[in-house]
Every structure is written in C-alpha cells, then in structure tokens.
C-alpha cells in the first residue's frame, strides 16, 4: 500500500497494462517525447519506445478514427485526446464508428479501445477550454463512459477499461490529478458500471461523479455537524449507470441532491432526477435538487468564474432545501 496521486495511479495502470499485453499501446498529442500534457504518460515513451507510445499530429478526428481501425484489427489502443474540449472534433468517429461498429456489422468486429481525455473547468481556462460534457458523450449507446473521483478508483477503472472489449471513453478531472489516495500493491480491477458509496448516510442521498464527489463529501462533513447524515453515491460510470445502487440509497433516504460539474440542461442531473422520480416515486419526500455550473460559457476572470461553478456550499444549500 502506498500513497499515489491520481496522475501516478493512472500512469501505473497504463504501465501495468502495457507490460501485461503487448497489444496495448498509447497514442495522442504529446503523449510521448513531451511526456504527456498532463504528465500522465510520463516515462512511458522512454520505457516502451515510439512503437508503443505514439505521438500524433494535432488531428483529433484521425486520432479517434485510427484508434477504431487499430482496435478492429486486434490492437488495444489507449488514445488520448488531451482534453475533452478537443474531443468535440472526435465526436463523429466516437459515436458513428467506435460505438456502432460492433452492432452495425453484427458482431463481426470488436472495438476494444479507450479514449482518455482530461476534463473539468476552473482555473480560468476560459470558455473554449472549460467543459465537462460527459453527458453528451454518454447519451449515445455502444460506448462506456467512466470518470474516476480519486486515485484509487482511477487505477482500477482504467485497467478495466483497457481490458474490456468494448470502447470506453475515460475522462480525468484535471483538478484531481495531484490528489493522492492509498493504492494497494496488489492488482485490482473496478468493474465497468459499478458505482460506489463514498460515504454512508441516512438522511439524504447525494448522487454525483468526478469532482462532484469532493464537493459532496465536503458538504456532507458540514452537514454532519448539523446532524444531517448524507450518503454520497459516486456513480463512477455515466454509462452504464449503476441505477440499482442509486435507487437503494434513495429508497432509504427519500431525499436526493444531484451534483455535477457540468451544465444543467439535458445533463447528468436531469437523467438521475428523471430516473428516480420514475422508479421510486413513492419514496420521494421532496423534489430532487440539482447542483451544477451556471448555464453559460465560462469567463476568464477568476472572481466571476468561481461564481459560475458549483462548490460544497452550493451542495449544502441544496441539501437544506430538500430536508
């Protein structure tokens, strides 16, 4: 057991899987000689060389599409899109090809690939570089989508994503890269689609993922001082969604707040609220509240940027409203 940052845990996952299976390789902008924009791939180029750690041109459509071809042909690409903002340019290759080829050709081909992309907003990255748009990618069937909230989960989830025969989009919250958790020395995998209770509680269910987990745990801490025990459910995967876990928590607490880093409309909070009111109508003691970023592009200036973003206090306020 040792403490590792999420960045190091992700690198360890890549490293282990590359050692384990020669068909696993990394590709993307700056992943090699430059050691990775967010340094997740640091050292891999030096260890594995240019064959297995492949720098690409600035070509998001081709990165996403070439990964599909390579995967169909039998390799296991881990293709980095640097940040999810640039993955908008990859949407077609992801949705029309990665996610559909297995189905469309009736199982003749598998597409065992992982797309990795840094996600999240904050730090004045400005409108074009401030997205956490997981829900729009998870809208489409055929590709899984995972977002770890800590180093431990990150390692187990990424290893599973690499080994699974389905395409997976894996987004990594930039703000969480430096944060450490204890990582066992033994290998472990975290199943795709399995959520996790990050804090047990009885009075309210907070459903969240990624960076929202941090805000929610902080909020739960504040609430605990007022005698309110919040249960924090980290879905970990937006597709498939661990609805049974969310439901069982909600049926116990009868109150729910959904917390996400992203925009409000047609989003994560929308889906969770819709699912719960439909599947557990008789258990609802209050409306389900949603905490999210404001419905606008993010500005550069730090002060107003912070106003637009969710935080622990906003979660606390929302919980108070549903109690």
């Amino acid at each position: 057991m040792k403490n590792m940052s999420m960045r190091d845990a992700l690198r360890a996952a890549l490293h282990e899987e590359m050692l384990r299976d020669e068909t696993v390789f990394v590709m993307g902008e700056e992943v090699g000689r430059w050691q990775g924009t967010h340094r997740v791939t640091r050292g891999l180029y030096d260890e594995f060389g240019a064959r297995r750690v492949r720098d690409t041109p600035i070509s998001e459509m081709a990165i996403a599409g070439a990964a599909v071809g390579a995967a169909m042909a039998g390799l296991r690409p881990v293709a980095e899109l640097m940040t999810i903002n640039f993955a908008f340019l990859s949407l077609d290759a992801m949705v029309n090809h990665a996610a559909k080829i297995h189905y469309m050709f009736n199982g003749q081909f598998k597409v065992p690939l992982v797309y990795r992309a840094a996600t999240g907003w904050g730090n004045q990255a400005t409108a074009t570089h401030s997205h956490s748009p997981e829900p729009i990618f998870a809208h489409f069937p055929g590709m899984f989508l995972g977002v770890p909230s800590n180093a431990y989960d990150a390692k187990g989830m990424l290893k599973t994503a690499i080994r699974d025969d389905n395409p997976v989009l894996f987004t990594e919250v930039i703000a969480l890269y430096p944060k450490p958790s204890p990582i066992p020395d033994e290998e472990y995998l975290i199943p795709i689609g399995q959520g996790d209770i990050k804090r047990p509680g009885t009075d309210v269910t907070i459903v969240t993922y990624g960076r929202g987990v941090e805000w929610s745990l902080d909020a739960a801490g504040i609430l605990a001082k007022e005698g309110v025990e919040a249960e924090v459910v980290d879905v970990r995967w937006l597709r498939p969604l661990d609805l049974p876990l969310i439901l069982s928590s909600f049926k116990k607490t009868n109150r729910c707040v959904v917390v996400e880093e992203s925009l409000p409309m047609y989003s994560f909070g929308s889906e969770i609220a819709a699912q719960l009111q439909e599947a557990a109508f008789d258990y609802m003691d209050a409306p389900i509240k949603r905490v999210h970023a404001m419905d606008l592009p993010l500005p550069y200036a730090r002060t107003i940027e912070l106003m637009a973003l969710p935080n622990a206090q906003k979660v606390v306020d929302a919980v108070r409203e549903v109690l």
Binding site: G65, A66, F105, N106, Q108, G142
Partner: protein, 345 residues
C-alpha cells in the same frame, strides 16, 4: 514491380470477366428490386442504395491486386468491392433485404457491408469517416510487422473532408502501408469536382503529405487498374502510403432518390459518352482481341451469373427476418468486466 498483363492467364481473365459481369448484374438486380419488383416481399426497401455500375473495373481490378492477407475498406458504394473480394452474392443480397442471413445480419444494409473472413473491413456511410480506420488497420499491420497492405477506396468528394487530411497525414508520419485509391467519378452527389476543390487533379495532394503521387489510371480498364494498384501496393508495403486515382463514371444516379440523369440533358449526353467506355465493353474488347472463339465462354458466363444472382435473390427472399433478439444483440460485447446489464431496456 507491376505484374504484366501477359502473366495473367486466359483462365484468370475469364474468371475476372465473369466476376465483373456478376457485379453488374447484381447492381442491376438491386435496382430492379428497389424500383420495379411488384411483389412487396421481394423488394429492397429503405432510403439509401448506391449503385456502382460503371465503377466495376475499378472495384475488380483494384481488389484483385490484393493478396489474401491484405485489407480493403471503402465507403457506402460497396457492393462490387464485396463481390470482387469473394463475398458470397447470396449473403450480400440477404443484407440488402435486411435479412438475418445477410453479411451484417440485416443490421448494416447496403451501406454497411463487411466480411471479416476475407479482410473486407466494410462499407461506411459517413463521408471520409473510414479513412482514419484504414490508417488504424495499417498501423496494426506495421505494429505487428506483418507484410500486408491496406487498400482504401474513397470518392473524389470525400477528399475535401477533414478526415482525408488528418488520416493521410497521420499515415504519412507513421509511414504506413496504405494505398489511398480515389474513385474519381467527377462528382459527389450533384457537385462537380471543379466546384468542390481548387485542385481537381487529386493525386497532386500527395505532395501535401510527402507521400508517393500515384497515377491517374483509366478506371474503365480493369487491367490498367489492376497493374497500377498492384504497383502501388508494393510501394506501400516497402515505402509507405500512395495516393492514386482511377478515373471513372457512375452510370446510375448517386443513390436511389437521384434523378439527375433524367433532369439534365448535358449529363445525359456525358453519360452516353462514358457508356461507350463501359468497363464490360472495354474488357470484352480486350478479350476478343487477345483470344478467339469466346462465344461459348460468354454464354456460360451469362448463364452462370444470371443463376448466381437469381439464387442470391431466392436465398435472400427465403431467409428469415431478424427478430427482437437480433435487435438487442451486439450493442455491447459480452463482458465479465461489466457490472450488471449494460443494456437495460
């Protein structure tokens, strides 16, 4: 070096001719089944059906240049390529009719034919979208140090899409064994090549990627296509990508809803001109020049291909439709690594 025509035996050439006839008849049967078949149960339906009559020499000549372990991928005008690669006509026709026995289980349709056993990686319907897939398949070839090459068909119109640029550049940087073969039929839907690009001589774009500028080959002459593609594939195996063109013409509208030839006199005239260079006519002329007394062969070929197409239709008509279990199959690969059922419907 290119295999010279002389090394192709009479037998081979006649087999090719038969296959080319089969492709044409297959396309004509598709058109018939879509537009003219009175019996509803025997029809091809839907909105997308892109016939390749006129392109047969490109499809057959290029595919014949491949070894069994080489790879081929294309866009939605894919029937002839599948047949040339040896996919059974009945399995293809069943796919046209959306039957469970079709190559893609009735789920892909005319635009999404593929047959894994012969490395036919499929037809794709997003213009340009299959180009990076070709790059990826070629990457696997290089990664595994295999001796094979990838042949990627694309249209003249597709060469203006961002996918083209990124996929060709990436393949160039990685020095991958791909032949990019533009089926230049002078038009994308209704847009003439002069209106879609500032550089209508598309092979010139090779220089943008520092790759080999291949020839602009006569796409109506199967032998010329074969030789040029074979040479290009050899180059690709040894030295990386080649961009080449086959100049051709489609004898039908873009797709089944296209009435351009009915509507425009200038195009009707152009079509007539090109029909004089019908790939079947060109091929037959070559055969007749080289060999005597092929009439029996032609008669046999006519009968055999008719029968193959007819059998394919009967097979397709009599095949079962897919059911609910097919609808929900293969959305995801079954996996122990997945918690619960990812397909909660």
């Amino acid at each position: 070096m290119a295999t010279k025509t002389e090394t192709l035996s009479k037998e081979t050439l006649l087999t090719w001719y038969e296959e080319m006839v089969l492709i044409r008849k297959f396309e004509e049967m598709c058109r018939y089944l879509y537009f003219d078949e009175p019996d509803k149960k025997r029809r091809i339906t839907g909105v997308y059906l892109h016939l390749a009559s006129g392109h047969e020499a490109v499809h057959l000549g290029a595919v014949k240049a491949l070894t069994a372990d080489d790879h081929v991928i294309t866009a939605y005008r894919d029937h002839g390529i599948g047949l040339a690669r040896g996919v059974r006509a009945d399995l293809l026709m069943a796919e046209m009719m959306g039957k469970r026995t079709g190559v893609s289980g009735g789920k892909g349709g005319s635009m999404h034919l593929a047959w894994r056993p012969v490395n036919f990686w499929g037809g794709y319907a997003i213009v340009g979208g299959h180009l990076p897939l070709a790059t990826g398949i070629a990457l696997k070839v290089r990664y595994m140090n295999e001796p094979n090459a990838v042949l990627c068909f694309l249209g003249d119109g597709a060469s203006n899409n961002g996918y083209f640029h990124e996929a060709l550049n990436m393949a160039a940087v990685w020095d991958l064994p791909v032949v990019w073969l533009v089926e230049n039929n002078l038009v994308g839907m209704g847009t003439r090549i002069e209106d879609s690009t500032g550089q209508p001589e598309l092979v010139k774009r090779a220089i943008a990627y520092g790759i080999k500028e291949g020839p602009r080959v006569d796409g109506q002459d199967v032998i010329k296509v074969y030789e040029a593609v074979k040479e290009a594939l050899d180059h690709a195996r040894a030295h990386g990508p080649v961009l080449m063109e086959a100049l051709t013409y489609r004898f039908e509208g873009h797709g089944v809803s296209d009435k351009q030839f009915d509507a425009r006199d200038d195009l009707k005239h152009e079509l007539e001109q090109w029909r004089t260079r019908d790939p079947l006519v060109v091929f037959k002329a070559l055969l007749d020049k080289r060999y005597k007394d092929l009439d029996d062969d032609y008669a046999r070929i006519e009968a055999d291909t008719d029968k193959t197409v007819q059998d394919a239709v009967e097979f397709a008509v009599n095949s079962p439709e897919p059911g609910y279990e097919d609808l929900i199959a293969n959305v995801y690969v079954d996996s122990d690594l997945v918690h619960g059922d990812p397909l909660k419907l």
